[in-house]
Symmetry: C2
DNA sequence: CACCAAAATGACAACGTTGTCATTTACGTA
DNA sequence: TACGTAAATGACAACGTTGTCATTTTGGTG
């Protein structure tokens, strides 16, 4: 592999002039620049990033820690929305900024990431982004001098983090149902021990109250855990009870798409048509699920890609403007949006 | 960020002794080693990879070019099996060998990867793996001095490459059907302009011949393109014609899982039960598809993860034993295996 | 032509580590 | 205790580039 000295000798200039050409500095004559560029091309010279890094302290690398690749080949329906969508969002922002992403993938369920941090720091990455596989609180990682952001997880109010706004997302679902004329709602959600489960339930309850729905009109149940297939019999019992009562709901908000998908055949077996007899709405917009449901599922997006993009842009901004402080406390919450398909009917009332 | 000089000063030794401790060289006294390690821990010293790289010409990085991340969030059913499974296999082998993977993701359909190669070479990666999103022939990339492997694509017989053995995979499917007593088969496959489409069709025909099936017993049709949803009406017509004839097939080999999945409701609408009236078998073992079919689809795996793993191990072997030559011509073909579920019935005849 | 200022070019030190070889220390044996 | 050898430690050059400042070249003006 050729060095800057080889190029300088072939072009008949100093190594500094070669450096100026390669780095597109202005103060080089056109004829000189052309002569050097020809030598670069002929020798297929690639600058040595290690040497650059020693001199200029800019690696041009952004470190990314994720378990998305290890987990992406699990059963897509059971696994929930893959955090690789977050990776994609991060990647887009880095590509636009001309930064190279150094992705380190952890084993699933691996919580000690210090070894990964050490690798990234030895490569002198300019910043680190750690993507969690589901929304939760973690202890703050200890990293000096290098900007560090969490995505899909959070720590202290001073630690940079971006999370999905599960609360607002579920509110949007309720607002959509109410707007479509629904006034008797049920919520079948995730376990409240889960961050997302708790926030989505709270969002549902608050939105129902804000819409003036009384306790008679609103029924909530929960208990399903992320990552587990909803046992058919459990969901079946829940739905049976909902429809054995006098004030049957006209619409059901599910805590995620998987529950909504599993509910479809159960509701059919109860003699209910969707959306004519009961409307349903999911959460996540998981294409592995919604692309297969009949009728096509109306749902709320889990804005993973946007979260990744926002995080990377914030980090990059932090790098280019080191004195700018984040005004708001963390985490930054990103709200999804309703994707209207065919599982919600408009009522005339 | 502290340097080796800071550690040496704190521990009261030379920088070379610090280097010996950090690199776990043997010739250091235990007491000295402990003193140095304490200083390393106290200062949170991380070796500077750029400096190491300049001195030792070993980056410990393996470069990977793929479009898997950009494409993974497309509709999983339409996209075909994601090449991220290949990435996972590469990752496993690199992790075991203690190498860090530098993943560069291209835009979908981007064919000029020279810019990505340049980035990787400037980081002095020890080897490069280029993953193609589907099995095809490409022009040989020009890279000097650095080992370069293709996965899911191939070039000249001297260019290192690993591809799926589509031919053998489809043979396995036929052999399984024959073993289950089926003697009247149909093949509904991918377009033969596609590498996989051509090889799978050839594999089907050859396996049927080898099994002694006559032309009367075997019917082939093809024309579907990878990446496009099979138009329902086209597939419907194909299947109708198959079952309007006197010698109806007892089993259908599909060129991929997506076609098999789409065929299920059509066969039902023709009054055919699966597998009682007609057995079906897919190809790819795409969990985004097979996890949702009823009955559960018997299929042949597209061994992406294994291909990735084999490639990385070959590359790593090339790095540790540079004089070893690959005995066989390229590409190396990796055969999948039959995954038995419920869509193939055993006939008594 | 002489002078001045701006543009272009070059010399060389420094970045943080490892490889090489010289020097010092410790241990075992006679 | 002296000697020899092996183990441990240290000095310093080199890796390939960029930053800094000195030097040279060029162009314009009087």
């Amino acid at each position: 592999m050729s060095t800057i000295h080889d190029v300088a000798k072939l072009a008949g200039v100093s190594i500094k002039t070669v450096s100026r050409v390669v780095n597109q500095e202005p103060s080089v004559r056109d004829a000189t620049r052309e002569r050097v560029q020809n030598a670069v091309d002929k020798l297929q010279y690639k600058p040595h990033n290690g040497a650059r890094l020693m001199r200029s302290s800019k690696s041009n690398l952004i470190g990314l820690i994720t378990s998305a690749i290890s987990t992406v080949s699990r059963d897509p329906v059971k696994a929930g929305l893959s955090s690789i969508h977050i990776v994609k969002g991060v990647q887009q922002a880095c590509r636009e900024a001309g930064k190279t992403l150094l992705i380190l993938d952890t084993e699933p369920d691996e919580t000690d990431i210090q070894h990964h941090i050490d690798i990234l720091l030895s490569h002198r990455v300019e910043g680190i982004i750690y993507i969690l596989d589901h929304h939760r609180l973690i202890a703050p990682p200890v990293v000096q001098d290098t900007p560090f952001w969490l995505v899909n997880g959070y720590s202290t109010p001073s630690f940079p983090a971006v999370v999905p706004n599960d609360y607002m997302g579920q509110q949007l679902a309720v607002e959509h149902l109410v707007e479509q004329g629904h006034s008797r709602l049920a919520y079948v959600g995730l376990a409240v021990e889960l961050e997302a489960g708790r926030l989505r339930r709270e969002g549902f309850i608050n939105a129902a109250e804000s819409a003036g729905l009384t306790n008679e009109d609103v029924q909530t149940t929960y208990g399903m855990k992320l990552g587990e297939t909803t046992p058919f019999s459990v969901l079946e019992n829940v739905l049976k009870q909902l429809f054995e009562q006098q004030n049957r709901p006209t619409a059901i908000c599910f805590g995620n798409d998987q529950m909504a998908m599993n509910a479809i055949p159960i509701l059919h077996s109860l003699g209910l048509r969707i959306p004519e007899d009961v409307s349903i709405i999911g959460f996540d917009n998981d294409m592995a699920i919604v692309s297969g449901t009949r009728p096509a599922l109306t749902t709320v997006t889990l804005p993973y890609q946007r979260m990744g993009n926002i995080t990377a842009k914030k980090l990059l901004q932090q790098l280019s403007e080191p004195d700018q402080e984040q005004a708001e406390p963390y985490p930054i919450k990103v709200t999804g949006e309703v994707v209207i398909r065919q599982s919600v009917e408009k009522l005339n009332n």
